[in-house]
Symmetry: D3
């Protein structure tokens, strides 16, 4: 169960309205790695955690914090849209500032949301749960989380560079710092579980049931062998159970696939038509 307090976790006040930046800021609210994504990702992982208090508690704590970040961004975006002008093409004809607003802002902010934030990204794509991950395996999911915080901080930093508004920068510097913490946190959580399970997810599948002869092989599927220079191509594997090896000229292990014809009720191309297609001489058969 949740409670709400009316104060924001941190300030969300721009120096001045900027509807173009409001559109951009939507990315870290409602984009693939926006705050809605991390909030629901951590909460679902928490709710689905089976059997342990510590990880569940931690997931709920951070998921709950991300709800506060949604709130800060929604507030900031509404303020960046404050008094957004009602601009037309004729006015834009005279003024590059107006032209930039007409072109660079999200028209749905003035038509649909009434100058409020939307659960959507910088191109107006609505948020979708396709973005989030909760598998029940904590090590797998903590890696997903480490990625989310890495992508999220990267986007926040890119946005920080694209504005001069000190109020916006101030809020972003808070969110960037929290992402620093959260990258550290998920990294720490991964190390803790890897120390108990080794690094390959899931750790509980018997290794002898997989094709061990290809479990540490790098396939060079292209001309050139620059890819042989990496740590992944030689030496002991990271899980300590094998040796990396580099396969310079990979060959198929399987055969040419040949499918049986479909049953009649499927009404595929009739076999007779396919046979007639052999009327022309077949170069393979020469």
């Amino acid at each position: 169960m949740f409670y709400h307090v009316k104060e924001l976790q941190y300030h969300a006040k721009p120096e001045r309205p900027d509807p173009v930046f409001a559109r951009k800021l939507q990315e870290i609210l409602g984009g693939q790695f926006g705050e809605i994504s991390v909030a629901l990702q951590y909460l679902f992982q928490g709710w689905n955690t089976r059997g342990d208090g510590k990880y569940r508690d931690m997931l709920m704590d951070i998921g709950t914090e991300e709800l506060a970040h949604i709130e800060m961004l929604a507030t900031m975006i509404a303020r960046l849209l404050d008094g957004a002008p009602d601009v037309e093409l004729d006015e834009a004809a005279k003024n590059p500032f107006v032209a930039a607003i007409l072109g660079g802002s999200n028209p749905q902010h003035s038509i649909v949301s009434g100058l409020g934030a939307m659960p959507a990204d910088a191109n107006g794509n609505k948020w979708t749960a396709d973005y989030i991950i909760a598998s029940g395996n904590l090590l797998a999911d903590f890696r997903a989380n480490l990625n989310s915080e890495s992508q999220g901080r990267l986007q926040a930093v890119r946005l920080y560079e694209q504005t001069d508004d000190r109020g916006v920068k101030d809020m972003l510097s808070w969110l960037i710092a929290r992402d620093t913490m959260h990258q550290n946190q998920w990294y720490a959580a991964c190390l803790e579980l890897e120390a108990k399970e080794n690094i390959v997810v899931p750790s509980t599948f018997p290794r002898e049931l997989e094709k061990q002869e290809v479990a540490y092989t790098f396939y060079n599927n292209s001309a050139g062998t620059k890819s042989a220079k990496g740590r992944w191509a030689h030496g002991p594997s990271i899980d300590g159970l094998g040796q990396f090896n580099y396969f310079e000229n990979p060959v198929p292990f399987g055969e040419k696939p040949k499918l049986n014809p479909a049953p009649p009720y499927i009404h595929d191309t009739p076999p007779a038509a396919l046979r007639k297609s052999d009327d022309m001489p077949d170069p393979d058969m020469k």
Copy 2:
């Protein structure tokens, strides 16, 4: 540019048809962490890599391999659907086997794809590029890749457990082994870059521009403090630049947000209507 060879990378022959398992297997072909996702994710990361041969080459190599995995799964699914019966409710009434097929198979396999594989997941959701990630920052993206291979291997293992078909298990044991390699590979690539950049992505943003006072703080946003037991709550941070600390009773740093009224052309609730809403005594004002 690409070339195709007709042979499969590895065998893809089931012992017998099974339209219900064909539906399930769609998950690792066209689901969030299916082979289409990893193929296009690695290829886009490769195409977008700026300035270095080794990582780009490696990304193209593995992306190209994943195309071969799509091919194996598409072939296996078509074979699992081989001669799928044309079943009706009346027949199902007499036979649990028929009932299970009627209920458990994907109706689009017989109506839409003609007993072929589809670019969709186990519930028939079509594949979408919402699933994939390519940011231009290699460490961020390699973390995404480590996650993809972790989720992907987890799903392959769960599917391995849900069938007795030795042909299917044989193919899955190949794919599971490749995922073992790929987890090792991305882990190795991450370690290589972390050794050069430290662990926080992006490494190039000046640390003094973020709110350093909250860059290593865990906020306990719930009653109870089990979350204090983790590695993330005490001791030096993983990036070596701070000390984790645990904030047991977090408080807001911001203020109650108050938004200005919208301009008239937005036609929000009129201020007069809002004022009249104060006719009833306000308990806050007591």
Copy 3:
């Protein structure tokens, strides 16, 4: 900002596992009118409310409650999936119970989420922000909310009828009661605003700027006039500003649309080709 308490708002314990009902219950968690929809709808409406404390406070209160409902449903679904069997087609051949589970459960529950709840509906469609509404106009949005609670209660009641599990029924009877309150609540809020604004949204657009001659007309666009029997066809309009009237045989007020040709860079069908299409005698021109 938000806090979490570990206890559930209400009990969420089924008598026994039932993976088929778990799939169905997803509808009111992650479907169009599921708890994710109402939670985010009310919170976004609250965050975007400009200028008044009472409605914003109320929206945040109820949005925060809906987060607790997501939590209850996620917990219930995980428990309904408890120990979900790993069933195969061969077993189903012998047993209608197994056949029903194989067919009626969501395969992603065992492949993707590890027997946890997913942010998706009863068919596995992922939740999308396409479902939610926040326009900045409170009367419009409260009507959206009244609809959401009506659809939501209807779905909960239908689900209540489709299970015999007393634990599930107990939880649903809680959620149904809350929906009773919430329908009453939004109805009350609508009445309050309608009393101040009249019923047509938005109330601030000057009535003389709309075509008043068709503002109270019902068009009977079909043969037969049963639609004339309704309250909407005769008598004073609900807003008190007009008289309903019934137009039995509506005719067009506009003209046949004729579009200019596209500029050459668009490469539409060339005008010459269109002209030649008049070679056959035109029956209209007779």
Copy 4:
């Protein structure tokens, strides 16, 4: 079955082309509350109506009218795109008018649709049936319809304010008037059904089966009690069957959820790994 007449229901002729406004106008053609949404929503409700002539007839009448509105908007958008210039960045460098067009128009109008209308919103998101509602319960659905017409008129009014083109304004004043009628109409239809059924949907579920003790309670889930001022917090409930009451400090009725471990074939985090996570002292256990 349907017939088409070539004349438009009302005029759809702009004074002059304006590709930027064409993009905006897409919102009420193909957006969440655009004409495609209401047309298909009313038609599906009509087709699914079980057992009564009057409501079905009315739904078909209005759904058929909305098809005419799609046609008017499609025609208007094509005309606003008439002769849309083929503009480039170099030209934009010299001219804010060109810059505004380059930025503010929808590039798919010139690349994909050949300067025709698209079934998409102002940001180019394609229309989806996620937007529409048809439950079989008429009162629930009429509330959905009242909301749709409220949101739709609000958007039309906002667009009316964002153009000076008298032809566009003329068409919008027609659509706005029809939305006035349609809000009145659905309101009237709701009142009719509420008079027979009371206000809570569905009316046929036995009230004693819901938790009556919480069926009229407002939960104040936040600090501060401004939400107590509303009509929803005190006095008789709108359905006349209870008394609203305000719960200032809500507490959980449930318990902390604890989930059982998953079966082994799910390959979650192994219990041993979870146990070891207790190595650090647990602050809760102090």
Copy 5:
């Protein structure tokens, strides 16, 4: 503008309810090539046709007919769902008929739509305008339409084979016949335009502006040359302007792509980190 008549274009009465077939039939109502797709595709093509009466009239005629097909299918599906039983897992345990219904029907038919048709496909994916095509170029679009009717008739035929219900078969035999007409019709329309424009769309782009040396070349991008047997590999091209030729061993015409580094505000992997990645000996450089 449109009118509706209450009678169906053709009968839509099943012999008996069958909720499993109702689910399957959704495919040709709300799937990729269902009746919603063709109705809106033809109507949008008609509304966007610039400058000619005959094709526009024809498009509107057939689009209007497809609306009648949506209506027939919606009616048929509602009847197949008539009195659909409220089945539970316990009952299914005893009865394969119940098990098949529990597994094979769409749960949203009983939870969401109240036993009515939905704008969705056989897997419950909601209809989306991603499915439809209207480019402004009539020859391109008539080819899209020929494809739609081919896929649509194929699906209707497959469904015809999967039921024994004479009422359903009767309706399908109507729809299949209409698809026969519509394939003939679009084929005829294509021939008419091809006679005026030649076969390559668009016909108005100057041929000398394309790389003519590769305009009739088949690239054999795989081992083996079975693909040389087709009409497309030898002889005069279909447009009569070239000779097909077969390139057995295609080679790249371009160079290895090398991208410049990103500007600093993008925060990609820092160049220094990339340089250090050359510490290991590069096999390409040997």
Copy 6:
């Protein structure tokens, strides 16, 4: 199985960066008829082809070529984004060039992809497998392919006209020429199969099972008869099995649909409420 060579199939070098055109070019990379669509469409058709070498080989050849086109476009887009400036509203105020870039470029290129190409269209909609087609019936699918290449070439030509960059035009002239070949190719393949099967897909459904009396009838569902002028309205049908005929005043063959009431557990509008709706006199009953 696939191999990659590092060289591009053809050059992909613009004369100069242009972030606005980069956004537009996304359409033919990740839009409905972009290269991702054709690559995956042809590959899935190839993988699902049952029983014949020649068509499968040809499909794999061309699908593999399309992968090379994705690569060329991804490279070109990254170069068009090279050094894309980090522009702000304040700068735009002074300079229409900056205003155009701010408005006309895709903000996700600088926030999300790090100035790399994305699997998305010109409006930033992510690529989805909703776009592609693979039915197992080759004639149906080759028609889909002919359409794809027609739409694709049309879009490429429109883009060619919208830029002056000689490097971009050079690459487009390659892609346009390949589309010329591919239209010729699919046309040839269709002719080959039609010669064996006649033109109606599928050719294997017994014609006597369809309602032959309406298999060659054009229904004129609108006032006016311009549509009678086409080849489709008179003369022998294209399949040679019937005579086209024109039905000027079509009438319904079916009856008014009347649906039974839903069972009680569905909780639709109660029959009593519907009955009371007859209180007003019914004009139909006069």
